[in-house]
Amino acid sequence: MSKLLPWIAGAALVALPFIYNSPYPLHIIVIILIWSFVYTSWSVMGRFGLVSLGHGGFLGVGAYVNALLWNNFGLTPWIGIPLAMLAAAGLAVLIAYPCSRFRITGHYFALVTMALSAIVLQVITATRDVTGGSLGYTPQRVPGGSSLFAFQFTDKETWYWIALAIWGGGLFVRWYVDRSMMRYALEAISEDEDAASAAGVHVTAEKLKITALSAAMTALGGALYCQYQMFISPDTVSGISASLQMVFASVVGGIYVLLGPTVGAVITIMLAEVLRIGFGTAAVGWDNFVYGILLVLFIIYLPQGIVGSLMAKLRGARVGS
């Protein structure tokens, strides 16, 4: 029965737009799916103690590289997005390699990667002639609105299925890593790098692999967000705040469980929406304030996150009975 549950849930999700396709809720669900994918991408490495605050940078590279290639060279996102993912992976290796060689781990790794987020934000803002700077950037729309070549679609249903597929793909990647031998190596590295290399693990190679994977996935999320919203600004897809957002949501949901980052996305996005609708412009920035308080509370009282703690409770109950 529990084996069937994911398939039933998956089928229900795929069928959703046939039953219910009210535009606003569907829009919120698409946004939730895209960010769930991004947060899951972060957690792919974050769960192994590799806490990166540089993912805002990878998100920005994904969004801007793809959009710039489309606007300036007419390159289809079918090629632009993979190129953007490669660029993000390359940037990730550029940062992660020296970090690994010089044993910059834990808090120091978070600080170094945080600088990366800030740098990407600065570069986007400073090169305003090319990127539009802090005013944001819009990919050129194709006449008629929808085009497979341009990866632009006007109807929400199509976007829902795209986002659902990508989100499912993200969960699959994380699940796959979790059941691979790579998980053993990364858990070992997170505990004791020397002991891991005494078991034959090439510590730097394993770290670079997971970092490049996580960065490329995050870039895909950024490009997807751009194609869906048809507008990006440096503050939403890059910078330290975007990175912190990923950490907030993942910690709230629980980084050690597959669906943790997804639940984190649901909670944080719903919270932002409720504040926006309930208080309007009077509540601008409140969501970040509430996230901050939540993050502190969660780290102290519920470090496993909501899903993680629930599952531990359930498991405890099952063992107890």
Binding site: M181, S190, D194, A198, A199, G200, V201
Partner: protein, 250 residues
């Protein structure tokens, strides 16, 4: 099989290992003894790539190891344990050993890794249960796990670092027998670093004694125990006098 020449390791102005040379033959158990700080662990760390030597060469099966990264040396056929066991507590006992089985050799499949993990666990006498956590193990169990991890990498040469510290006499005997069995059943050559001389002398073929980073003696166990330099290092100069007097009295 292993040929070490003029090995030197300096940490700043301190010379931890000074011009040590030795050979290990295929199939033998070499005991490496010496007081605390005599450079035993430093030699192990150089042999396994954790410290690059300041000078000297380490040739293993005709290949120079000095300067190679630890993972490459491990995959090249050298296994090592740590003086204080360093298990991965987030993994189960089985996963600890399977990890070593997978990454300890190049191009391993998961099935092959699990197979060598089972073999290693069986040999050291740990349960094959896939879900047993590390936290349930005591001092002797952790030492067994440490050994199983090293064995799962399927080494040709095993560097066993003070594997008996903290064990009672019965456990010590068991562990000594274990090393004998590892050589007999798997044909693995062993260098065994140990504080406790008694047990070691029963098992090893040859002994090398270090003091202040220098090799002061090398030979059969029976020769070593009668070497006045060794007795002095281990028991102090009074003991040498006592021994000399005893010998004089006949």
């Amino acid at each position: 099989m292993l040929e070490v020449n003029g090995l030197i390791k300096r940490f700043g102005g301190f010379t931890s290992v000074n011009n040590v040379s030795f050979k290990v033959d295929q199939g033998e158990i070499l005991g490496l003894i010496g007081p605390n700080g005599s450079g035993k662990s430093t030699i192990f760390n150089m042999l396994s790539g954790f410290f690059p030597p300041t000078a000297g060469s380490i040739r293993f099966q005709g290949r120079e190891l000095a300067g190679m990264a630890p993972y490459a040396i491990i995959q090249g056929g050298i296994g090592r344990t740590f003086q204080i066991p360093r298990p991965f507590r987030r993994l189960t006992i089985f996963e600890n050993v399977a990890l070593a089985g997978y990454y300890g050799q190049e191009g391993r499949t998961r099935a092959k890794a699990f197979e060598s993990a089972e073999k290693a666990l069986t040999l050291v006498g740990l349960p094959l249960d896939r879900h047993a956590p590390v936290d349930g193990l005591g001092a002797a169990g952790l030492k067994k796990l440490e050994l199983a991890k090293a064995l799962a990498t399927e080494p040709k040469l095993l560097l066993a670092d003070e594997s008996l510290g903290g064990l009672d006499e019965h456990e010590m005997d068991q562990a000594a027998d274990m090393l004998n069995r590892i050589r007999a059943e798997l044909g693995i050559t062993i260098i065994w670093v140990e504080h406790i001389m008694g047990v070691l002398m029963r098992v090893v073929d040859r002994v090398m004694v270090l003091d202040h980073g220098e090799k002061i003696s090398e030979g059969l166990p029976s020769e070593i125990t009668n070497d006045p330099r060794v007795v002095e290092v281990y028991l102090g100069s009074d003991a040498v006098a006592v021994q000399a007097m005893a010998a004089a009295r006949g």
